[in-house]
């Protein structure tokens, strides 16, 4: 769409009350003509209320809302229905209309009988309902009803479409088809505003996302801007990792927790166990994920910026010492790394490949072990098979063993030991930390060995 975008909807200090309860706003919002906006947010965040305000299903208690430059409330229902089509979340029709008759009801506002037949047939075709045109609406499955509702709105042929969780009741195939359909309608130049539950589906298809939280805008922008782990943690109380799929981000949840647990988590991050992981070549990715899942916030180093361990650290927003690829670690990175190891109470050495260029972190671990810090070394696969430094790494590992480092078989065992170790730490508040920890492990469903 060329040309300067102009807002089709403009909300100023919009507030909505339902039954005396404040549910939306104050909200300042512009929706450009021709945009494809996904509205997200937890249950009760005001998504549906916002959409109903845009369709005049609810009246604002204060503020203003205009459509195409005119106050929304000044529109007659008929005139608005020629401009805006709505797929509501709630729908019932308990009378025996056929699917085709129901879809044809969408033509009421258009007053163009010559186009009615074609519009209904096209809407049925687009939603894959042509074969069901003669079935009674009362005999449809939930998914078929949902598609019939979408078809009814399509038959309306409006330049703007508002959809409230249109994927409800649809199987995956029809969910994707519906999203594709919105995409192609958008490409025809229509304005699409869709409330979605599925953050990934929204990120995959919408051009722009609006994230609501307790009735106000928590974030708005391109999918990669809105799907920020911090924002999602704040709004949904879910810790997520953000990945990329082509241009679009997608998220996977790590764990979900209540507000109270969050506070404990902050407490633990501030006072809890400081772990440093010596990583590289992707050897530490699993370990990092496991540690993060268990509520730890390890530091990481030294990894090249092309390294998948670096990506993992970024994903979980861990403090990481990085270095440019294909060269020896610069002095600055080594200093930084030494700082992290000094600060750490516990060091884990991941089963990385050692060459002449990355022995320094290992030497740092050895110094730490000699100074009495707990060092875990993941021993599998065997060091001999990972030693590209002509035996130097192998001898460093042997020195680590004699300096009191403990050897574990893999990431899982390392994390288990970390947890046991943490419980027995003496330099941290016993009661709060331990009980909080226990509660968390109970909730996560993971068992941990008795101390």
């Amino acid at each position: 769409m060329a040309g300067t975008p102009s807002p089709i909807y403009t909300a100023r200090a919009l507030e909505v009350e339902l039954g005396g309860k404040h549910v939306l706003g104050p909200l300042d919002l512009e929706i450009e003509a021709g945009s494809f906006l996904g509205v997200l947010g937890p249950n009760g965040s005001g998504k549906t209320t916002l959409l109903r305000a845009l369709t005049r299903g609810v009246a604002q208690s204060s503020g203003s809302l205009s459509f195409d430059g005119r106050p929304l409330e000044s529109y007659r229902a008929l005139d608005l229905a020629r401009q805006v089509g709505v797929v509501p979340q709630q729908f019932s029709l308990d009378f025996n209309f056929t699917v085709a008759e129901m879809v044809a009801m969408g033509r009421y506002a258009q007053r163009d009988e010559a186009a009615d037949g074609e519009a209904v047939a096209a809407a049925l075709r687009t939603t894959g309902l042509t074969a069901l045109a003669d079935r009674l609406v009362t005999e449809l499955s939930g998914g078929e009803r949902q598609r019939a509702l979408i078809a009814q709105t399509l038959a309306q042929r409006t330049p703007t479409l508002l959809l409230d969780e249109p994927l409800n009741n649809l199987d995956l195939n029809h969910q994707l088809e519906t999203m594709q359909l919105m995409r192609s309608l958008h490409e025809e130049g229509r304005t699409i505003v869709v409330v979605l539950h599925d953050l990934n589906m929204a990120a995959q298809y919408c051009d722009e996302l609006l994230l609501l939280d307790r009735g106000t805008v928590a974030a708005r922008g391109k999918p990669e801007e809105v799907l920020d782990p911090r924002v999602i943690l704040e709004v949904f109380r879910v810790r997520v990792a953000v990945h990329r799929q082509g241009q679009r981000p997608y998220i996977t949840p790590l764990w979900s927790r209540s507000r109270e647990d969050l506070r404990e988590q902050e407490f633990r991050q501030g006072q809890g166990l400081r772990i440093h992981v010596i990583a590289g070549g992707g050897a530490a990715s699993e370990l990092l994920e496991e540690l993060v899942m268990q509520g730890f916030t390890p530091t990481v180093g030294i990894v090249s910026v092309f390294d998948s361990d670096y990506a993992a650290a970024q994903r979980y927003e861990l403090e990481v010492v990085s270095a440019p690829p294909f060269q020896a670690f610069p002095e600055e990175a080594l200093d930084q790394h030494a700082g992290l190891v000094r600060r750490a109470q516990m060091i884990i050495v991941a089963p990385i490949f050692f060459g002449p260029g990355n022995l320094e972190p290992l030497r740092e671990a050895l110094r730490a072990a000699r100074s009495g810090k707990t060092v875990f070394v993941i021993k599998e696969p065997a060091i001999e098979r990972r030693d590209l430094s002509g035996g130097e790494a192998t001898s460093l590992i042997a020195e680590l063993a004699s300096a009191g480092a403990r050897f574990v078989s893999g990431a899982a065992e390392a994390v288990e030991l970390v947890q046991t170790h943490q419980g027995g730490q003496s330099d941290r508040p016993q009661s709060g930390g331990t009980s909080g920890h226990r509660r968390f492990t109970d909730e996560s469903g993971r068992s941990r060995p008795a101390q």
Partner: protein
Amino acid sequence: MVAGTRRRRVYRLAMAALVAALIAAVITAAVVGAAGLSLGEAFRALIALFAHGPDATGDFPDWAPALLLNLRLPRIVLALIAGAALSTSGAAFQGVFRNPLAEPYLLGVSAGAALGATIAIIWKPIGSLGVYTLPILAFVGAVLAAFLVYRLATFSGRTGSAALLLAGVAVGSTLTAITSFLMVATERDLHTVVVWLMGGVTTATWMKVYITLPIVGAGFLYMFLMSRRMNLLLMGEERARELGVDGQRTRRHLMVVASLTTAAAVAFTGLVGFIGLMVPHIMRLVVGPDHRRLLPATALFGAFLLLMADTIARTALAPAEIPVGIITAAAGGPFFLYLLRSRRGA
């Protein structure tokens, strides 16, 4: 669009059948009766009446054409009008309330009309205003009751279905209590009141037809013009608005018009029950729920049914007459039960 075509064909067939049945019912109602005419005489008199007017003579008593013209025909026409009015109003109420168990008396029209009629019957000074005292008071009572119910159910500009139903029940029972009290207090007129309440077109005249027909005709026309909107309203006010219909306003207008239409019929026929409930329901099974077809079919079938019921009412125990409301209620009660049971199963 096979079902679309099928439904169109069914509709044409149903309308043809209804028109044929209606004509047959009119002829039957015209020729049977207690006046001592044979069927053949009455039929010949009917033909002669249409061909040559009331002064026609032939192979029938000279008074026969006049009897048909002044007694039987107005009664037939009034039955047709009342039947159509009650059943189309019923269809409108069922659509507006999205409930197949709604009926035209929902807003207290029946109780209001009954109270008005009772006052007209027992309060002689008012009765001296003439033969139209009763219908006028019944009409006024019906309209006032509907207005009262509507007002009571409206909170801050919105009128909910549940509130209307409850207000209808509350106002209805209050007015019925007053009516009952008046009836007991003035035993003398008890019989007259009870017979009126049971409904009938016994005292039909052409004047009554002339008064009722414009109101019912206009009401039907309005409802028919609103039939597409009524279809949309079946999906609820909000969805109707999204598709371009001001649901709240349309509902209000439809309720007013349907209540007026009902009141016009009730004023002259008393409380004929169940026609308004039954007929739209049966027709919905035949021609489908689309009001553009449902309303015309309902009007014809309602007219037919009330005429048949009235014909049975005045011939079954001739020369005595059974109030037509007894016939319709006797048929409607079991049907109502059937409805409730089949809805439970659905």
